[in-house]
Subunit: 184 residues, 3 copies
C-alpha cells in the first residue's frame, strides 16, 4: 500500500507539474465545446437617403467610397442594427449591434467590422465587443470577440459570419455564430 500511494503521488506530480508551465491554455480551450454559444441574425438596412426610408433604415453611409477600384473601397457605414434569433427582420430583436463597417478592397468585396452586441432582454444583459475582417467572398469567416461586460463579463471567443441573404447594397443579413471560449 505504501508503494501504491507513492506511485499515485508521482502520477499526480506528473499530471500537475508539466501542465502548470505550458498547458494552461489547453485546459481553457476545448474546440468542440465553447462555454457559451449563440446563433444570431444581423439585419443591416442601409438608409437610401429618402424621407420614407428614415423609419426603417438601421444604418447610414457616412463616408463615401473613394475612387480607388470599383468595389466601394473606403465606403464607411455606421449601424445600429437589430439582432434576432431567427432570420425575420421583424422578429423581436434580442440585441442591437452598434458599430461600423467599411469596404476595403479594390477588385472585389471585403469589409472590416468593429461593433458591440448590446443585450438588454430578460435572457441576457451585457455586451460583447467584436472586431475583424469580413471576407465576404468566403462562405464563412471568423472575427474575434475581444471582450464582454455584464452577463458576458470578460468573455472572449470567435464570431463566425455567414451571409444569409443580400439585396444589393441596401439590405443584407448575416448569420452570426457566436462561440465564447473564455467565460467567467
Amino acid at each position: 500500500m505504501t508503494t501504491f500511494s507513492q506511485k499515485s503521488c508521482f502520477i499526480i506530480l506528473a499530471l500537475i507539474i508539466s501542465p502548470s508551465v505550458s498547458a494552461t491554455r489547453a485546459s481553457k480551450f476545448q474546440a468542440e465545446k465553447p462555454c457559451k454559444r449563440m446563433v444570431l441574425y444581423y439585419h443591416d438596412k442601409l438608409f437610401d437617403g429618402t424621407d420614407k426610408d428614415k423609419a426603417n433604415a438601421t444604418s447610414a453611409t457616412v463616408v463615401n467610397a473613394s475612387k480607388l477600384g470599383n468595389s466601394y473601397f473606403g465606403m464607411l457605414v455606421v449601424f445600429n442594427d437589430p439582432i434576432t434569433n431567427d432570420d425575420k427582420f421583424h422578429s423581436p430583436p434580442v440585441a442591437k449591434a452598434q458599430g461600423f463597417y467599411f469596404y476595403d478592397r479594390k477588385d472585389t468585396y471585403t469589409a472590416w467590422f468593429a461593433y458591440t452586441l448590446v443585450f438588454n432582454s430578460s435572457e441576457h444583459k451585457g455586451t460583447l465587443n467584436i472586431m475583424g475582417a469580413d471576407l465576404m467572398t468566403e462562405k464563412t469567416r471568423d472575427l474575434s470577440v475581444v471582450g464582454g461586460t455584464g452577463d458576458f463579463f470578460m468573455a472572449r471567443g470567435i464570431a463566425t459570419f455567414q451571409t444569409d441573404t443580400f439585396q444589393g447594397l441596401y439590405y443584407f443579413r448575416l448569420k452570426m455564430d457566436i462561440k465564447l471560449y473564455e467565460c467567467y
Copy 2:
C-alpha cells in the same frame, strides 16, 4: 498512516483534476478585487471651427452626421484628449486618450468608442486599449479593456463610463473607472 496518505492523495486528485478542465477562469477572476484600478477623468473639448478655439480644442468632427434621425447619427469625432486624476480640465494630464467616437442612434444619444490610453508619467508608462458602446442615457456603462502594453502588458478588464458633466456638444467630461482583472 498508509491509509491516510492514500486518502490525502485522492483528495489532491479530486482538487486538481476537476478544476483543470473548467475552473481556470474562476481562479483568474475575483469580481470584488481587480488586480489594478484607476479612476480617471476624460475631457473632450470639440473644435468649434474658429481660429481662437484651435489652441484649446482637443478633438474634431471629421465626419458630419448623416440625415438619418435627429441625434447626430454617424457623426464621427477624432480625439486626443487629456486624462486627469480629478475633474479639472486644467489639472496636469496623467495620460492622453487617443482615438475616436461616433454617434449611432436615430432617436436618442448613444456613441461608440475605440481608443488608447497613453500613459507617459513617472507613475505609469504604457498603454491600455479600449473599445465598446457608450450608452449615454444610462448612468454607468461598461466598455472592454482589450489589451495593454508597457506597464499594462497584456492587461484586460472593464472601463466603466459615467458622464460627469457636459455643455452641449462642445465639452463633456467622463469619469472612467478602469478595472483590470487580468494583469501580468
Copy 3:
C-alpha cells in the same frame, strides 16, 4: 516510506493550492519567450488620386484632415496593404493587412490603427486582430494583438511597430514585430 509519501503529498499540495489562486497569469507569460513570433513588413502606398496610381495604390484617404492643427488631425485612411517577409514592396505577400488608421495630433504626427492581418498561405491560414496607438515619433511603439482566428485561434500579444522608411505621405513601410504570448 509512509512518512515519505505523506510529505510528498504535502509538497504537492503546496505546489498546487497556492498557484491556483494567483499565479495562473505568471505561468501564462514568459516575457522572454513568446509562444509565437513573426517579423513582418507592412507597406502602405497611399492613392494619390491619379488614374495611373490606381493599380499600385494599396490605401486611400477617405476622410480629409480637419482644420485643427497642421499635422493631418483626423485624416482617415482605409488600407488593404501587402505584408512581406522582407522589406521589398514587390516580394510575394505572406498576408494582407486590412483596416484603417487616422492621424490624431495637432502639433506632431501620431496615428491610431485598427486592422486585421489576413494570412492565406501554405504556412499560415487565419487572422490576427490588432489595435492601438502608433506614436510615430518614438523609435518603437507597442500595439495590442487582441484576438485571432484559424491558426491563430484566440491568440493575444503585442505588435511592435518600427518605421522602416517613408516618402512623405504616399509611401511608408513599418516593421511589425508580432509577439504572441497567449497561444492555444
